[in-house]
């Protein structure tokens, strides 16, 4: 008896949950169903996570980019390639498609981004894998950003 009620409640909660996320994604989906389309979003409306603003400038700092590559190899490359979909999305052009704040917050405040950011919610539905927080510090995250900016040049 109890379990029936619980089941009904759970179903109701699940239904509400699905409809919410469905609404959020269908707006982006309108532009196309392919993976790349999700990447079309250029500017997030609201910045989630601890990095509210990054000044990147025009030039690439090669020292930072090299340091970023080293961290990327250890902590990211098992799931992200540059030019092919793998466990997570390809990241070769990500610096063109996402804001610097988005990239750094995705690395540093992964949980907050997964819970709140509409683009990430859509990616979650597509990849069905929560990106792990890899305990990268802010300096290393900035270096990874520089590496990804270099890649996207």
């Amino acid at each position: 008896m109890k379990s029936t009620i619980t089941r009904i409640l759970l179903l109701a909660i699940a239904a509400v949950g699905i409809s919410i996320s469905f609404v959020a994604c269908s707006q982006e989906g309108a532009e196309g169903k392919q993976e790349e389309s999700v990447f079309e979003v250029k500017q997030e409306k609201k910045v989630y996570g601890k990095i509210q603003h990054v000044d990147v400038g025009e030039a690439i700092d090669p020292t930072m980019a090299k340091a970023g590559l080293d961290v990327f190899d250890t902590k990211c490359s098992a799931c992200h390639k540059y030019d092919e979909r793998y466990v997570g999305p390809a990241l070769g052009q990500v610096a063109k498609k996402r804001t610097p704040e988005y990239i750094m917050n995705m690395i540093l405040d992964t949980e907050v981004m997964i819970e709140n950011d509409d683009t990430v919610k859509c990616l979650m539905q597509e990849f069905l894998m929560r990106m792990p927080n890899q305990s990268v510090d802010e300096k290393d995250a900035r270096n990874i950003l520089e590496h990804l900016r270099e890649k996207a040049k």
Binding site: M1, I5, S77, A78, C79, V87, P132, S135
Partner: protein, 652 residues
């Protein structure tokens, strides 16, 4: 739907009224009503316990970690026994931790956890515990709740009066319960009285690294050294041990070691002995013992056999060791928070004797001696006695203290805890335990600073307290509120093994320092794979080393060929995750040795010797993500003489 709701409301009403009835019944009694007790130990979902409780796993050889007041089991820390859940003693990295001078020992008996202290107060850094059968002392690091060091004790047997820390953890001491011939050689057991000695060991601990070094052993008369405690404050330079079998019996001890009316508490001035040893007193003798150290950076243990130890005899260190007579077959030996009182628990005694440290010092100065044994002066009982607790119950064993000047003694034979005052040694309260209490523990209750909120009873007999589970029942602990004048039973909770002694401290002494991950950049394991691009397979003769990575949710490589029957395959799996609570598991079909559970940033190794050609599956055994089921791979095993080359993939 409507009907369901109505039914459930009715159900709720019945439950509520039942609770109410049981409450009003219990309300009139001295014991806490069931609802009051329930709310006192209730830790709501998501809330955390106030205290950690480290409880010996007894004959399981492990250390169990509980929360108080809930009595919930959080973790079993493997120490002296293999633990498949944590690959302890199975992975190549942890096997050396269980090495001894007798080879690999998969199971021992653990008794007395003691915590490291700073200025006589538990500091939440380490827990020490003894291996009783094959004498060893372990150091467990409370940052990651892992055993980091195990040192074997030579010249010992039944390592029971162990381990006990000095008030700044300068030394962790251990004493032998069973005396043995030293050096241990092929002699008739009838030579007991002349050849058998009791070794009291002093392990020096490095304050910064925690590293152990067996500094010296005192070779005492061949009695049975049972339990011990370091002094504190004014008595901080002294160790106190109880001993029985002053008859030096070597058969039917049950009768023959219970002849004398009084046995002894041994008082040892370790500070003075330390100074003698620094002058080179004593002698170095040949002894074999293992010293096992786990390295945090290589995630691997090494085992070294040491071949000598310094021993001192009482004659080498005059004025350092005294015997205080104490009633019949004493067991516990506990020092109060002020450091003035030493409480002996006499299993066969009808009183609890309380010795005075200051009187003992005066007795030594005034030479109030009552003869000597093997050159050790015996002090006069009355000259050292502060008082006796009369009619405490039957079979006093162990005593802990609160922060209000009270002592709590476990009474084994009469199954109760007796609370008494350190001011007048009068009994204040008694409360039954279910059944046959052994040790007891108050948070910080062996230190200068007890947190006197609870006392926990660790019982020897469970009988009818839980649903039966065949001939063997769960072991049992009981939690009592001691914040008021009367002790109140709040909770029964089951424990593993036979719970002997325990330590409890406020959670905030430990929780904030808890390790969440091992940093992959600090991993110095010789077979680490720091990034997926480096994952590979290497053959060296008939050894195959697989450098494998795991991350949610795949292994790299996950298709391996070229292994042959007769090969010894080492799976060195590095978990690349850097997120809290994301271990990966590893298991390969037909492995006679190990599965692995690898923490974030750690490398672990399983050894596999496939017997038949074929293709074998391996997979992750710890649910890690929605695609955990897909975290799987294959290894091809070819016949012994085949020429299949080593190949692997690093891609999906």
């Amino acid at each position: 739907m409507k009907r369901l709701t109505l039914w459930s409301l009715l159900g709720l009403a019945i439950v509520a009224s039942a609770v109410f009835v049981s409450c009003s019944k219990g309300g009139g009694k001295a014991s806490v009503g069931a609802a009051d007790a329930a709310s006192a130990v209730y830790v709501a979902p998501g809330e955390k316990d106030e205290f950690y409780n480290f409880v010996s796993g007894g004959f399981s050889g492990q250390l169990a970690v509980y929360g108080l007041p809930s009595g919930r089991l959080f973790r079993v820390i493997p120490v002296f026994s293999v633990d498949p859940e944590k690959s302890w003693g199975f992975s190549e990295e942890t096997k050396p931790m269980l090495m001894t001078s007798h080879g690999f020992i998969p199971w021992d008996d653990a008794h007395h956890p003691d915590m490291s202290q700073t200025d006589g107060v538990p500091d939440g850094k380490y827990v020490f515990i003894n291996g009783n059968n094959t004498p060893r002392i372990a150091r467990i690091d409370l940052k990651d709740f892992r055993t980091k060091e195990i040192i074997e004790l030579p010249n010992s047997a039944g390592n029971h009066s162990s381990p006990f820390s000095t008030q700044n953890s300068e030394y962790v001491i251990a004493g032998t319960r069973f005396s043995v011939p030293i050096p241990n050689e092929d002699v008739s057991i009838d030579t007991y009285k002349e050849k058998f000695k009791g070794a009291l060991s002093f392990i020096k601990m490095d304050k910064n690294s925690g590293a152990f070094n067996l500094a010296w052993q005192i070779l005492m008369p061949g009695f049975d050294y049972d339990l011990a405690r370091c002094g504190k404050g004014p008595s901080g330079d002294w160790m106190f041990y109880t001993c029985y079998n002053s008859e030096k019996a070597n058969t039917m001890k049950e009768i023959n070691a219970s002849q004398n009316d009084k046995d002894f508490i041994v008082a040892v001035n370790w500070k003075k002995i330390e100074a003698f040893v620094a002058q080179g007193k004593g002698q170095i003798i040949t002894s074999r013992y293992a010293h096992n150290v786990y390295n945090d950076e290589t995630h691997s243990a090494t085992s070294t056999i040491k071949t000598s130890v310094r021993v001192v005899t009482p004659a080498d260190v005059p004025g350092c060791i005294y015997y205080i007579p104490t009633p019949k077959s004493p067991h516990g030996c506990d020092v109060d928070p002020s450091g003035e009182y030493i409480v002996g628990g006499g299993k066969l005694a009808t009183v609890i004797p309380v010795m005075s440290f200051s009187k003992m010092i005066k007795a030594i100065e005034s030479k109030a001696f009552d003869g000597e044994i093997d050159g050790i002066s015996v002090l006069k009982y009355d000259a050292c006695l502060a008082g006796e607790v009369k009619n405490p119950g039957l079979g006093p064993l162990h005593t802990e203290f609160d922060d209000k000047g009270n002592a709590y003694t476990s009474m084994f034979v009469s199954s109760e805890i007796t609370k008494w005052s350190l001011k007048d040694f009068k009994v204040i309260d008694k409360v039954p335990t279910y059944y046959s209490i052994g040790h007891l523990c108050i948070p910080g209750g062996n230190s200068k600073k007890p947190w006197g909120k609870y006392v926990i009873a660790y019982n020897k007999i469970t009988k009818d307290r839980y649903l039966p589970t065949g001939p063997e029942l769960t072991q049992s602990a009981q939690l009592y509120d001691i914040s008021g004048e009367k002790m109140k039973l709040l909770l029964d909770f089951p424990t593993i093994g036979e719970p002997h002694y325990a330590q409890a401290v406020p959670a905030d002494l430990i929780a904030p320092n808890s390790t969440k991950i091992y940093k992959i950049e600090n991993n110095k394991h010789p077979y680490v794979t720091r990034k997926e691009a480096d994952a590979r397979v290497e053959r060296k003769g008939n050894e195959v080393h697989i450098y494998m990575t795991s991350i949610r949710s795949h292994f790299a490589p996950d298709n391996i060929e070229g292994v042959k029957v007769g090969d010894k395959v080492y799976w060195h799996v590095t978990n690349l995750e850097q997120d809290w609570d994301v271990p990966h598991g590893f298991a390969v079909l037909g492995n006679n040795n190990a599965e692995l559970l690898i923490m974030p940033g750690e490398t672990s190794t399983a050894t596999w010797e496939p017997k038949y050609a074929g293709v074998y599956a391996f997979y992750c055994t710890d649910f890690c993500s929605a695609l955990h089921q897909e975290m799987q791979g294959y290894v091809r095993v070819s016949g012994a003489g085949s020429s299949t080359p080593i190949t692997w993939n690093n891609k999906k």
